[in-house]
């Protein structure tokens, strides 16, 4: 019951999802669509797990008065407010939308925008022509980056005006992306895809069981 049934379930659902993709018959397609909707229904229940552990973690912090335990109260406050307003009145109600637009959205956008700072500091630190490979990384990054803004072509046309090409920066940018970049990406994708398929096969056949965790 504890190990065999999950393995069988995993096998059955895996095989059904594979076979229905090879069968255009309306029955197979019906099964395919139904099972997809099942997965969408089951998925959100896992949030129960999440919420329970989140509450456990933070109550433990508050109880033990670990360092910065006060902030765990902030977590609870945010969670409770969103749930209390969202669940009874739905996500389209004005207060929920206000909270989303003025609390969640700005923090999301701001955290995302931290990347602008980090991308510059990472470039500054890592783009050193230490080796041949590092130089390739550095040069292509600079060309593509400059090819993306008008000032790149402006520089090319002022400094390299004697070359037969006009707007060379953006041309080279596109060429690099279409050719060497494309083949490198293909190489990675081919390798990774083989890994994905091989693991999926192992899972369906019950060879890979790490997801069941330890124990019996």
């Amino acid at each position: 019951m504890k190990r065999q049934v999950p393995l069988v379930l995993c096998f059955v659902f895996g095989i059904v999802m594979i076979l229905t993709q090879f069968s255009p018959h309306s029955f197979s397609q019906g099964v395919y669509k139904e099972v997809i909707s099942w997965a969408l229904i089951i998925g959100p229940f896992a949030l129960v797990l999440a919420t329970v552990t989140l509450i456990q973690t933070h109550t433990a912090r508050i109880r033990r008065r670990t360092e910065h335990w006060q902030y765990s109260l902030v977590v609870f406050a945010g969670l409770i407010i969103m749930v209390l307003i969202g669940i009874p009145f739905g996500p389209q109600n004005t207060i929920f939308e206000w909270l989303y637009n003025n609390v969640q959205l700005p923090m999301d956008a701001t955290t995302f925008s931290l990347l602008a700072f980090f991308i510059v500091s990472a470039a500054y630190r890592a783009f050193r022509a230490r080796t041949f490979e590092a130089s390739l990384l550095l040069i292509t990054a600079l060309i593509v980056m400059m090819g993306n803004v008008p000032v790149g072509d402006l520089i090319w046309n002022t400094v390299l005006f004697w070359t037969p090409w006009e707007d060379g920066t953006s041309w080279w940018r596109q060429w690099i992306l279409d050719n060497p970049n494309l083949s490198a990406r293909r190489g990675i994708i081919l390798g990774v895809s083989l890994g994905v398929i091989s693991q999926s096969i192992r899972i369906i056949l019950g060879i890979e069981r790490s997801y069941l965790g330890g124990g019996d």
């Binding site: 089951i42 949030l47 797990l49 994905v196």
Partner: protein, 222 residues
């Protein structure tokens, strides 16, 4: 501008600055924003998964079945019951029951992936690598196009060689994989450079918010 929009801008501006303060170092403002963010986002996730997942996909068809509109809704009882097994986590003795839904989700994900990945990533990428050579045979490509097609084949083969694990990288394999690394580095460099624009745009948008919507609004008062 109405009162709540004004308050909204101030709250958003405060939280924006609190998050940016981490660039200097960890501080109470960042800690507050960070924890609030975690709490709010979990709450938002719960509400959304109920209203956009559970209600339309499970509850509505099921309710329609109960009222006798459409019997097919009863089939949704199966995924609902499977989903409920996640609550087994709350009882230490029955924790193992949550393996059932996990196994189903994993089997489902693996099954759906195999044909899709094989077709979209392996068949199509291989096809895309070979296809230009048909045009070479037909004589419709210029010398430069031929060079590009050959370059891509060389790039793909060398990059793939780098990912051979069961052979020692010696002799010709070593050289091929060295060329592969060069291609990888060009690929990484260009991907890095190509991302800069989008990321900087995000920052510009935030600064625009702070300068125009927030400070701009303060200045209009005077």
């Amino acid at each position: 501008m109405d009162f709540w929009s004004l308050i909204g801008i101030w709250v958003a501006a405060f939280l924006t600055l609190s998050i940016y303060s981490v660039l200097y170092r960890d501080n109470p403002f960042y800690r507050f924003a960070e924890h609030l963010f975690v709490g709010v986002s979990v709450g938002y996730g719960i509400v959304l998964s109920i209203y956009q997942g559970f209600i339309p996909l499970a509850w509505k068809p099921f309710a329609a079945a109960i009222t006798g509109e459409s019997m097919s809704g009863f089939i949704k009882l199966i995924p609902i019951c499977i989903g409920l097994l996640f609550f087994a986590r709350l009882s230490p003795r029955h924790t193992w029951l949550i393996r059932y839904p996990i196994a189903i989700l994993i089997g489902f994900g693996s099954g759906i992936a195999i044909p899709k990945v094989l077709r979209a990533n392996i068949f199509e990428q291989t096809h895309g690598t070979i296809a230009p050579f048909a045009e070479i045979a037909a004589g419709t490509l210029s010398g430069w196009d031929i060079f590009e097609a050959v370059l891509i084949v060389v790039g793909v083969i060398c990059t793939l060689t780098y990912f051979f694990f069961a052979v020692e990288h010696r002799g010709p394999v070593k050289w091929l994989s060295k060329v592969g690394i060069a291609f990888l580095m060009i690929g990484f460099g260009s991907a890095f450079g190509n991302t800069v624009m989008g990321r900087v745009a995000l920052l510009i948008q935030r600064v625009d918010f702070l300068l125009n919507d927030w400070i701009g609004a303060i200045l209009t008062i005077f």
